[in-house]
Structure formats: structure tokens, C-alpha cells
């Protein structure tokens, strides 16, 4: 962390790593004065909102011993806990996993719907993927399926398609079934943009995929997308040196079908040229927690530990489904004040101090935010790169790992 101080001036911290959306920006600039944190530069709207801290004096303080004691009792009594949310850095995830191994229970993340939509394709056929630095430098044709990625990943185009690539001779963006906003267009600079309207995104993408793979389907429009526009897109993709397909499964209906079609499209392109899928996602370190589960349990999220064994079922152990058979919800959300889903049984929240509850949980343990109050590791959306978050101020709340370790039985 680079810092500059002046007499009485707030501390300016450069090259701050951001762990919120999964894009892995690490060049943020913030101002820190005592307990206050103010974003200054290279900050997207979401990061600005989540990094900002004002010293109102009303921030929740650390939970008392009695609160931890109550949480331990609830855990001891539970027969079928669900550990959900899981918005934590890797160390926090390790602690939660240890706790789940001790008590049994289901493990799932707040935003795993998108991940499992993608896995429906990846686990059935596999896929040919790429990572951010490759996109930055190789990608000459980017296919965006669905909404403008900037809506959820504010600096996506700035990061993925900077104006000075090493290899790409030109940049073209094809948006299928969506339009790019002003921020996206500003970030894209001189890159060409083609928007293809579609009513049924799956049908339009299926047709495009079929046009790339051949033989081309017959018709004048597919899912509301004009055939000639799709044909031009297919030609551009086939002529690309390095095409990349992105979609944000969390924001799509039938995301599993979109992922499957995009995967097939990229497979077809790779027969003659190079291409990769670059699925968007990765909020609140879901990728890091998922990676942790894979190396610790051999299964991704949506896994239950029962007795001495674990089992994975992407439907049965999704939070909503698992809560139907649960007698305790342990909700972890350190990155943002995200309240737990509605649940009839007791709830332990290990969460952001600003969390607002419709119904107060049985136990609330406020924790610091990784990257603001605590150092920690988070993974980027591509699951390859992980980043060291730093602390911006002295923590007054425990980290997730510290809080969860205190829930182990007192000996």
C-alpha cells in the first residue's frame, strides 16, 4: 500500500485492492481519516458505496461474550444447520468450513445461482475459457450476451478492453439482447459496438451458435433478433483472431441455457480460430469460497457435511431448498450489509455492522469488512487470480475468521 501524509491531512491510500464484485481491481485510491474512509479515484459506484465509512459514532460494536455463548448454544442444539451467505475472505471461509465440519450442515453462498447455471454447462461438457489479461490483450471481438456488464461490474470495459492491447489489431463489441450504457461506451473509447436486439435471448444465441458451427438455420429472425444481424455477428466471430464470450449468469433468465450455448459457440470457433468464454460473476468472494470447498471437500458449494462424509447436490443444497429442512441458519455477509433470507427458525448473523433486519436475528455478531478493516485473500471471477486485500484502518470488529473461531466449543 502506498501512502502519503501531510500535516493534518487525511491519509491517501493508493493501489487499494477491491474484493466486492469479483473483477479484481487493485488500483483504487481512497482517503482515510481516523475511522472514516472516502473513495477518491479509480472507484466504481458499487465500490464507492461499499468502501465509504463515516464516523457517526453509531456503528455496531463487537458482540459480547454472552452473544457468542448464545450462538454456541444454538449451534450445539442444531441438527441441520445451513451455513449460507458465506461472504467472507478465504480465511473466514476456512473457519466456517471447520465449524460446519464440526456441526454438520449445508454450505452455500448468497450468489451461487449464477455459478451453478454456469456449472450446468461446465460439468456436462466442460468449456474453453480465458482470463482477464488474455481478454485485455488478445480479444478482438467480444460477444456480450445480455445486459451491459458495467451494470454489475462497473469498470468491466476499462479493465477488459483497454485501448492499448498488445496483440488485438482492433476491438469490436457485439451485444446480443442488450444495450451499452454511457459508462460502458466511455470506457470503450474507439472500439466498435454492435447491438442486436432480441426478445428471446436463448433462441437468438442458439441461432448465432448454429450459424458459427454450421449449417446455418433457416429463417429471417430468431428470438426477435434479425437473421442478417446474427449472420454478420457470426461472420465477425469466425473472422476474429481471438473472440471472447461474456455473460452474467446472475442477471439472466435461463442462464444455464445461455452458458451452454455460449460454450458451444466458443467450442465451434476454436476449431479454426481461437476463442474463450469469460463468465462474469464472483461477487463477495464466491469464487474463493468455492475453490476452498473444492480443495477441502472435493465438491463445490451447495455441499452438505453429514457425520463424517459430505455430499453435493446443486438443487437440494441451494440455500432456499436447504432451509426447508433446516433448524438453524448461520448467515455470513462481511462484504456488504446483506440481510439473511426469511427463515422460520433461529438465525445467527455474522455480518456487516450496517445490516438492517426485517426481523432481528437471535444472534448478531458484527464483523469487519475484508479490505477495509482486515487483510484477507479474495479470488477474481476467473478463479485463477487471487488478490491480497489490505486493511485501511484499525479494526474494532473481529474478522469472520476470528468471530467464527470463537464459536468453537469452549474446552
Amino acid at each position: 500500500m502506498n501512502s502519503e501524509t501531510g500535516a493534518g491531512a487525511p491519509l491517501v491510500v493508493k493501489d487499494v485492492v477491491c474484493g466486492f464484485c469479483g473483477l479484481g481491481c487493485d488500483d483504487l485510491e481512497v482517503e482515510v481519516a481516523g475511522r472514516e474512509v472516502r473513495p477518491r479515484a479509480s472507484v466504481c459506484p458499487e465500490a464507492a458505496r461499499l468502501l465509504r465509512r463515516l464516523d457517526t459514532g453509531a456503528e455496531a460494536g463487537p458482540a459480547s461474550d454472552a452473544v457468542y455463548g448464545r450462538a454456541r448454544k444454538l449451534l450445539e442444539a442444531a441438527r441441520a444447520p445451513v451455513f449460507a451467505g458465506l461472504g467472507a475472505d478465504v480465511d473466514g471461509g476456512r473457519a466456517i468450513l471447520d465449524l460446519a465440519a464440526r456441526h454438520g450442515g449445508v454450505l452455500d453462498h448468497a450468489v451461487s445461482d449464477g455459478l451453478f447455471a454456469n456449472y450446468a454447462a461446465a460439468q456436462r461438457t466442460g468449456w474453453l475459457a480465458t482470463t482477464l489479461a488474455e481478454v485485455r490483450n488478445h480479444c478482438d471481438v467480444l460477444l456480450v450476451v445480455g445486459e451491459d456488464p458495467s451494470a454489475s461490474f462497473g469498470r468491466f470495459f476499462e479493465r477488459a478492453l483497454p485501448t492499448d492491447p498488445l496483440f488485438a489489431a482492433s476491438r469490436q463489441v457485439i451485444v446480443l439482447g442488450g444495450t451499452l450504457g454511457a459508462a460502458a461506451r466511455r470506457q470503450l473509447g474507439a472500439a466498435g459496438v454492435t447491438e442486436i436486439a432480441a426478445e428471446d435471448l436463448t433462441a437468438a444465441l442458439s441461432a448465432l451458435t448454429q450459424m458459427v458451427a454450421g449449417p446455418a438455420p433457416r429463417g429471417t429472425s430468431f428470438g426477435g433478433a434479425a437473421a442478417d444481424a446474427l449472420e454478420a455477428a457470426a461472420a465477425a466471430l469466425k473472422a476474429a483472431a481471438y473472440a471472447v464470450a461474456v455473460w452474467n449468469a446472475a442477471a439472466l433468465e435461463d442462464a444455464d441455457l445461455i452458458a451452454e450455448r455460449a460454450t458451444r459457440l466458443v467450442d465451434a470457433l476454436n476449431i479454426t480460430t481461437r476463442a474463450g468464454v469469460f463468465p462474469l460473476g464472483g461477487r463477495d468472494n464466491i469464487i474463493g469460497i468455492n475453490q476452498l470447498l473444492l480443495w477441502r471437500l472435493g465438491y463445490p458449494l451447495r455441499t452438505a457435511i453429514r457425520g463424517e462424509t459430505s455430499e453435493h447436490d446443486s438443487a437440494l443444497y441451494a440455500t432456499e431448498a436447504a432451509l426447508k429442512d433446516a433448524d438453524l441458519l448461520v448467515w455470513v455477509s462481511a462484504f456488504r450489509p446483506e440481510p439473511p433470507p426469511a427463515f422460520g427458525g433461529p438465525v445467527i448473523v455474522i455480518g456487516h455492522p450496517d445490516t438492517q433486519f426485517a426481523t432481528p436475528p437471535e444472534v448478531f455478531i458484527p464483523v469487519g469488512t475484508p479490505g477495509v478493516d482486515h487483510a484477507g485473500t479474495v479470488f477474481r471471477m476467473d478463479a485463477i487470480v487471487s488478490l491480497p486485500l489490505g486493511a485501511l484502518r484499525v479494526a474494532t470488529l473481529p474478522s469472520v475468521a476470528e468471530a467464527v473461531r470463537r464459536l468453537e466449543p469452549v474446552r
Binding site: G24, D26, R102, T131, G298, V385
Partner: protein, 556 residues
């Protein structure tokens, strides 16, 4: 704490001890000269064989590609659930399971049961180093280390193309070793993974990369010179060009020649020893290649033996894995271009004994084992999990030690393959001492681990005790006792305790002037700050940091 092992027969080839009846004594994790002092614990071994803990110098145990493999191999995971651990006194251990790609915990436990205490991940990508180290921190009972994949990264290819002086290459390699907390340099398909990003589908030793116009030979010789001059103990660990391609024998022979007498390690040589003779245009070149290895004392190899059954192949060699994806079983595979760095390809595979190619691959591996004469220059690997899971090592050891068993196995294989191998004519049987060399003394020596792989005073008390048994597979399947750093972790083939391991890294001197260039490169090209790419010592092994081997450079 003083522990004494009494009545064992010590097999310590590093010191010429071949089944010497003597006590082995250790205090607080280090072997000491035998004393008459009262020990805190004594174990009566009744003639069992005592060796240093096994060292596997090439086994894929951590990193992103293994997690991709786990994701693809859910069937394998389900088929191999958490084992019951009757002797294990800990709480629910989150052990996980799996056979082809076991979990971190299961990796540590299964290796320990076989008497192994140190394992090296041979293909860590710099961009994935943090993840690989996080995963290694969760492997109990093993010391680990990782070889950094270089030679396909755009930074080095740009340097080479620009004709950068060797000193600058060395500075980069030194910086990268430190930044990624690596132990050695691996080259995977030199320049080929990069060429695939520019749509090249193959790259021979003297074929130019379509963008950089740099050949694999230049990448190889440049990096051989770098590790030599930096004083990295382990030579370049090379996964050569044309993996799995019939006719790659010529490439392999040319690669050995390209080393020009400098040290070079050829990994999973079996996959690079294929000729094109016969009706099927697929034949064994093991004899030719073994002869060349025998004639070049600068060359060391590990085999990458194929073992029959379901496994998954995971490699940084996306170019080759893309070529092989049609052979996937089950039919699915993952490929990835990675971060101006390298790539990866994950292809599930079942080696079938009735399949001509698979059966001949099996035979080629054994031919190499038996025809390479110097046991100090050949290492026992299956390239886990690519040729088969490491848990098949005891079976492999029996194949090497027991000619009748080997020939009986051979007789059950694909008939055409039998006719294409000279395996049945090879009479060599490995001795126990030779197995101890392959799996202990030699890897310690080639890795520069002076306090491992032997049982003399000063050595780390990583010790495996095996009951003598004529059935060598049974003998090596379940260690009688295993001590990790002096702590008893296995008794009668069962894990009874978990000991934290350490991670070995090397550090070299390098010219720090490279750092400003790297800062610019990471900022502009990679889109990640160099300082965030770099791992601090505290990020290893849950804050305990690495075990550092400081290299003494200057040789050339």
C-alpha cells in the same frame, strides 16, 4: 523429545547403508547419532525396513487445474468418499476423498500411508501461485514445494525476442521465483502454450512461435542458462514439445542433444517416447531414448508411468490437451488460456488394458524404468494424476521389483501391444535399495534438499518404516510407522495424527533493476499490480512462512 527406533534394518543409499541393522534416533524432529540415553519413546521394529520419508518430485497436488479437475470428476469423488479413520483422534477433519484428484487433506493422508513425506507440485502458474499456496497450506503430513511454469509467458518471450541480455532474463527468473514462492523452474511445451494463443496447433523444437518468432529450443536453452547461473539446485524441469504425439521420440532425442551437456530434467518421459513404427503407426522408442539418457549423465528423467483405470489428465499444456480432448472419458474437458502466463487443459481419461495404445504406453513406461541404468537419474512417478493416481505406486513398485508379476500382468494386456514391446525379454528387477534411491535419496539430491532423503545425523526426522514382505505391493501399500518431522503420523497403514508440513522455496540473488520494468508490465499488460501478484512469506502455510533454500549463483 527423544525417540528411538530399535531393531530395524536401515536402507540409506545416500550413505551406502543397505539393510544395516542399527538403531535410528531422533530428537525434536532431527536425526541424531545413536545414544544410550533414555528415550521418551522406543519402537521395536523387529527387522522392518527403515528409510527416509519418500519424496515425490513430480505430482500434481495443488493449484487451479486440480480444482477444475475436481469439478469435472464429481463421479470419482462420489465413488471415493471420506474414509473412516478409526485411529484418528481429531474432530471431524473435513478430510474429503476422491481417488484421481483427492482433496488436499486426502492427498496428505494417502501419501503418508505410503510412507511419503515430501511432494512437489510440478506446474504452478505464477498467476495462480497464491491459490496453489493456499491449497498446499491445507495439505497435512507433507512438506511441499512448487515449480514455477515459465517459458510461455509473454514477458519472457518479449525479452528473448528483443535480444535481452541473459542477466536481464536471470533477474526476471529470480524475481519470479521469489514473487511466486517457487522451488524450481518448469517449462511446459516451451513456447507452445503461448503459440496456441496465436492459433498455432503444434510447435516443434525448432519451429518459430507465430508471434514472437522464438523457438522452443531458444526458450529451453535460455532458461537452462538462467537456472544454472542463478544456482537453482534443481535443473530445468522440462515437459517437452509434442506430448503424446507418435513420432515425438525424435523431438525428445533432439531435446537431449539441445541441452549440450548442461543439466536437464525430462519429466514424464513415457509420454515423449513414442515412435511411428508398425501398422498402427505407434511404437515404443523407449530403448533408443533410454540409451541416449544412459549416454548423457547431465540428463535426469521421471517416467510418468501409465496405470490402468480411470483418472484425469491436468496439464498447463493447453495446446496438447486441446488436441487430446476427443479422447476424453467421460466426454468433457476444460481448457483455459491464462493471464499472459500459460494455460491449462483438463481431460478425464481412462487407461484401458485392452486398448493397444494404452497397453503400449504402460509397457513403454516400464521399459524406460528398466532400461535407464542409473537409479540416481530416474524417478518413480505416474505424473499423478495424468498417468494414474499416486496411490498406485505400490503396484508400480511391485512391477519393477518382481519380473514374474510383471510378465503375468503383461500377458493379460492387448495382444498386439504385447507383440510391440520388448518388456518380456527384460530380466532386470529393481532391488529394495534401488527403490530407496528412486523414491528418497535421488530426489533429495537432485532437488538440493541436503537434510532429506537420508537418515544420517542432522537429517529431518521424516522416516518411513515398512514391514518386509515378498509381495512388494503389500509391503509399500501400508507403512508400519511414519514419522513426519519426528512426529508419529501413521501406524500400521492408518493415519493417526496430522502434522503441519512446510513449503520449500528457493531464493536467488537478482538485479532488482528488473522491478520497474515489471511494474509497468503488470500495470499495462496484465492489469494487476506487480506488488499484488507477489506473495509475501506470511501468505504461506497459514502464516508460518516457507522453508528457504538460498541459492549460490555464479556458475555457468
Amino acid at each position: 523429545m527423544r525417540i528411538r527406533l530399535k531393531g530395524g534394518r536401515v536402507l540409506d543409499p545416500a550413505h551406502g547403508e543397505n539393510a544395516v541393522a542399527r538403531d535410528v534416533e531422533f530428537v525434536d524432529g532431527r536425526i541424531v547419532a545413536a545414544t544410550r540415553e533414555k528415550a521418551d519413546a522406543e519402537h521395536e521394529l523387529g527387522g522392518a525396513v527403515v528409510m527416509a520419508g519418500g519424496i515425490d518430485l513430480h505430482s500434481h497436488i495443488a493449484g487451479g487445474k486440480m480444482n477444475l479437475a475436481r469439478l469435472l470428476m464429481q463421479e470419482d469423488r462420489r465413488a471415493h468418499p471420506e474414509p473412516a479413520l478409526p485411529g484418528f483422534s481429531g474432530a471431524a477433519c473435513g478430510c474429503g476423498g476422491g481417488r484421481a484428484v483427492p482433496t488436499a487433506h486426502a492427498t496428505g493422508c494417502r501419501y503418508a500411508e505410503l510412507g511419503y513425506t515430501t511432494v512437489f507440485e510440478p506446474a504452478m502458474l505464477g498467476s495462480n501461485a497464491r491459490s496453489a499456496h493456499l491449497e498446499m497450506a491445507d495439505i497435512p503430513n507433507l512438506d511441499t514445494g512448487a515449480y514455477l511454469v515459465l517459458g510461455n509467458d509473454d514477458f519472457i518471450l518479449r525479452l528473448i525476442k528483443a535480444g535481452a541480455p541473459q542477466e536481464e532474463i536471470n533477474a526476471y527468473v529470480g524475481w519470479m521465483l521469489k514473487a511466486t514462492q517457487a522451488f524450481a523452474i518448469k517449462i511446459v511445451n516451451p513456447g507452445g502454450i503461448n503459440a496456441f494463443k496465436f492459433n498455432a496447433r503444434k510447435l516443434d523444437l525448432d519451429e518459430a512461435n507465430p508471434h514472437y518468432e522464438v523457438t522452443p529450443r531458444t526458450v529451453l536453452t535460455t532458461l537452462i542458462r538462467a537456472v544454472t547461473e542463478l544456482g537453482v539446485p534443481h535443473p530445468i524441469h522440462l515437459h517437452g514439445c509434442n506430448l503424446g504425439v507418435p513420432g515425438n521420440d525424435e523431438t525428445t532425442l533432439a531435446t537431449i542433444a539441445a541441452a549440450e551437456g548442461r543439466r536437464l530434467h525430462l519429466t514424464h518421459l513415457q509420454f515423449h517416447s513414442y515412435g511411428t513404427e508398425g501398422d498402427r503407426r505407434f511404437s515404443s522408442s523407449a530403448a533408443r531414448i533410454a540409451a541416449m539418457v544412459n549416454a548423457n549423465p547431465n540428463i535426469s528423467v521421471d517416467v510418468g508411468q501409465v496405470m490402468f483405470g480411470q483418472t484425469v489428465t491436468a496439464s498447463a499444456d493447453y495446446m496438447s490437451q486441446y488436441r487430446n480432448r476427443g479422447l476424453a472419458s467421460p466426454k468433457k474437458s476444460i481448457g483455459m488460456d491464462i493471464e499472459l502466463d500459460a494455460g491449462c487443459g483438463v481431460v478425464p481419461f481412462e487407461y484401458r488394458d485392452r486398448n493397444f495404445v494404452n497397453a503400449l504406453q504402460w509397457a513403454i513406461g516400464l521399459e524406460l524404468f528398466l532400461l535407464v541404468e542409473d537409479p540416481w537419474r530416474i524417478f518413480l512417478t505416474t505424473d499423478h494424476p495424468n498417468g494414474g493416481p499416486f496411490t498406485t505406486y505400490p503396484h508400480l513398485i511391485r512391477l519393477l521389483m518382481d519380473r514374474d508379476f510383471r510378465n503375468a500382468q503383461l500377458a493379460t494386456l492387448n495382444k498386439t501391444a504385447q507383440a510391440h514391446t520388448l518388456l518380456a525379454q527384460i530380466t532386470r528387477e529393481y532391488s529394495l535399495e534401488e527403490i530407496a534411491i528412486l523414491t528418497r535419496a535421488a530426489p533429495a539430491r537432485i532437488l538440493g534438499l541436503k537434510d532429506k532423503g537420508h537418515l544420517a545425523p542432522g537429517a529431518v526426522a521424516d522416516i518411513a518404516v515398512h514391514e518386509e514382505n515378498a509381495d512388494r505391493e503389500a509391503m509399500f501399500s501400508r507403512a508400519k510407522l511414519v514419522f513426519k518431522n519426528g512426529r508419529l503420523i501413521v501406524r500400521d497403514g492408518e493415519v493417526i495424527d496430522l502434522a503441519p508440513g512446510t513449503t520449500h522455496v528457493v531464493r536467488t540473488d537478482f538485479d532488482t533493476a528488473i522491478e520497474s520494468k515489471l511494474d509497468t508490465w503488470f500495470d499495462r499488460a496484465v492489469g494487476l499490480k506487480a506488488k499484488h501478484f507477489r506473495l509475501s512469506d506470511g501468505e504461506l502455510r497459514g502464516g508460518r512462512g516457507p522453508t528457504v533454500l538460498n541459492c549460490v549463483g555464479g556458475a555457468s
